[in-house]
Amino acid sequence: MSLPVAPGRARSRRRKEALAALPWLAPTLLLIAGVVIYPAYLMFWTAFQKYNSYGILQGPAGWSNFFGKGGAFTFPTVPWTSVWTNTVIWVVVVVIMTLALSLLLAQFLSKDFPGRKALRLLVLLPWACSVVLTTTVFRYGLQGDVGIFNRFLVDTGILNVPYGFTKDPTAAFWVAVFVAIYVSLPFTTYTILAGLQSVPNDILEAAHVDGANAVQRYWQVVFPMLRPAIAAATLINIINVFNSLPILTILNDNGGYHTGHTTTTLIFQFKAQLGPGVASALSIANFLFCLVVVAFYFWIVKPTKEVQ
């Protein structure tokens, strides 16, 4: 506890300290201003301008990009129910499934067994490849006439005739969920693996000696100690998955306002057909949605507390 200081003096001292820190903070502040604040400002500004579909500025638009005749939220035939449910499912299912599988996989990879190094490298593979490449492989594999996955499903008798997985928007959405989990696994697995390495052996031994069985040891000793790793992995995954565009776009052969859109892919659809103004209007909703998700997460999990 410091001695009470006159508020005026305290403030001036703090200001002095802040000024002294400025040269060291300046690059970071500039970076934040350049890559976070300016684009966000531009998004808000664009949302209130009228553009034609070629992106040529026509003047101020007021709220018409949001709620006008061809506005983001009032454009006819957009299946909003499925867009919102898809968006929530996309984030929640992909992140939870990724975490669950990664916990299993990390546990397995932390055991000592012959060939562990090779297997760890293999798990990295989806991460090392570009997302577009991986997704394109799945897309071709699922092609109706020549796709290898479709061929496999037909030859094994699971399907009678090839199924156009990427031709039906809803089916394509679920394939995208699968691929998104697949490409998110390596990063998450490695983060948790790193967390597992930091669990001290003596604590586990002590728990063992105290008579805790394997299940108890995992849930009551290991899992709580993994919390910082899980917290970091979850937060990064939520934001990554929410913003992910290529998987959903590449795997969906359908155009227009179909039932396989999330808000992110819908932004691109709007950009192509209704211009950047309307797309920015929906981007703002996406931005707010993202903020809410992250806020919820902070509120429930309190990751900063653990990471400290």
Binding site: Y54, G55, K69, G70, T77, D145, G256, H258, Q273
Partner: protein, 419 residues
């Protein structure tokens, strides 16, 4: 280092003066009359790839142009068709307007006042050399000739004759009823009958064919109308074929290339094609025997689909660039240059002299030339066409699972909201 750099710059600057001095003949001023040499300037061309030789074909013309105008630098950017509109939009948004654009639409650019009327950047004789019936496609709703066609293509039905005879179909179907009957026989041989690309790339073409087949037209009383009785009739026929499993699987998410591939592999008996696609079939799939025919319609009157792509000239507010553009386009449409260029596209020429020359020599495409007498065009000059096209591309495919009335209602709603 710095001294050296200054020296180099000085030499460069000096030599430039010398160059200007040499070329600066009295007629070579900024308002150069045709024939004189223009001062140093740059014109930019943005063009799509029609085929493997497209870039070389343009470069040939550029080389010829540079013989006459050595001071004019020509910048050529070639892009694939799939993403071409995006590239055009990107250039426009970056305010880097190409002096010459080769595209399949012009209405959006024309309505925003970015273009020269094409007659300002082509001499009268060049304009007159283009087949009038094709030239009028480049006229905007305001009556101005905003664009000039540079290639045409006609689309007709191609039918695999082996599949046809195997199924016991004796003649190419001309009416919808004949087509349904033929398809029933062909489907019985376990081959898809009609390749229907109703996906996001070609739905606007396919929809038009069936609308015209029912005797309708998108333009009614000067307005684009999607939800109209003839369209309902056309879409009902589309749905009939889909429900009878006469089409390839998932027509609502198929593009023309996928359908063409299936045809080349003998998996589809007929589809609507153009001369470029058939050239590939002849070259790479010689085993496929085919015949070309009119596209079936309700009452049997012939339907064929016409497309012209266009040359547009953007206004860069620079007299020298405008003059260079004009000289380039005059050269481009000259028989000597144009012949090689259009042949590289695999499509049909637009100048009267080339059409006449090709009709007598190009036996492979004879049917396509003949169909030019009855082709119909999509209303590309209407500024609302983009909205209708987008709506069709995104929505027509849902006919697989929805009723014609609902699909067309959705298309109409999108058209109304977007335009």
């Amino acid at each position: 280092m710095l001294a050296k750099l200054t020296k180099v710059t000085a030499i460069a600057a000096a030599s430039m003066f010398v160059l200007t001095a040499c070329t600066g003949t009295p007629s070579g001023t900024s308002s150069a009359p045709t024939g004189g040499q223009l001062p140093a300037t740059t014109i930019k061309i943005l063009a799509p790839n029609y085929g493997d030789t497209s870039k070389a074909d343009w470069e040939k013309i550029i080389a010829e142009f540079n013989k006459k105008q050595p001071n004019v630098k020509v910048e050529l950017q070639m892009e694939a068709w799939e993403t071409f509109t995006d590239k055009v939009k990107a250039r426009i948004q970056a305010n880097d307007l190409p002096d010459i654009l080769n595209d399949n639409a012009f209405a959006s650019e024309a309505t925003t006042g970015l273009l020269y009327p094409i007659t300002e950047v082509m001499s009268d004789s060049t304009v007159k050399s283009i087949e009038p019936s094709l030239l009028k496609n480049g006229v905007g709703p305001d009556g101005t000739q905003w664009a000039a066609p540079d290639i045409a293509s006609a689309r007709m039905m191609t039918i695999n004759t082996d599949i046809m005879s195997k199924a016991g179909v004796t003649a190419a179907p001309k009416t919808w009823a004949e087509m349904e009957a033929a398809c029933a026989k062909i489907v019985a041989t376990k081959v898809s009958c009609y390749g229907m690309p109703l996906g996001k790339e070609e739905a606007q073409v396919e929809s038009s064919l069936w609308l015209w087949g029912a005797g309708g037209d998108w333009v009614k009383d000067g307005q684009l109308v999607a939800n109209q009785p003839a369209a309902v009739e056309g879409f009902t026929e589309i749905k009939k074929l889909i429900d009878a499993k006469a089409t390839q699987p998932d027509p609502g998410a198929s593009n023309r290339q996928a359908v063409a591939d299936a045809f080349n592999q003998g998996k589809v008996a007929m589809y609507v094609t153009h001369s470029g696609l058939m050239a590939t079939t002849r070259k790479d799939f010689p085993k496929i025997k085919y015949t070309l025919s009119q596209i079936p319609s309700k009452d049997g009157s012939p339907v064929a689909f016409g497309v012209t792509d266009f040359i547009l000239a953007f206004n860069n507010k620079d007299a020298n660039r405008k003059e260079a553009t004009k000289q380039f386009l005059d050269l481009f449409y000259s028989d000597a240059m144009y012949e090689g260029w259009y042949k590289g596209t695999g499509l049909l020429p637009v100048t009267t002299s080339m059409i006449n020359a090709a009709k007598s020599t190009d036996a492979d495409n004879k049917d396509f030339y003949d169909s030019l007498s009855y082709v119909k065009f999509n209303p590309v000059s209407d500024p609302k066409w983009d909205a209708l096209k987008n709506a069709l591309q995104g929505t027509a495919g849902t006919i697989q699972k929805d009723s014609p009335e609902n699909v067309l209602k959705a298309v109409q709603e999108q058209l109304d909201a977007a335009s």
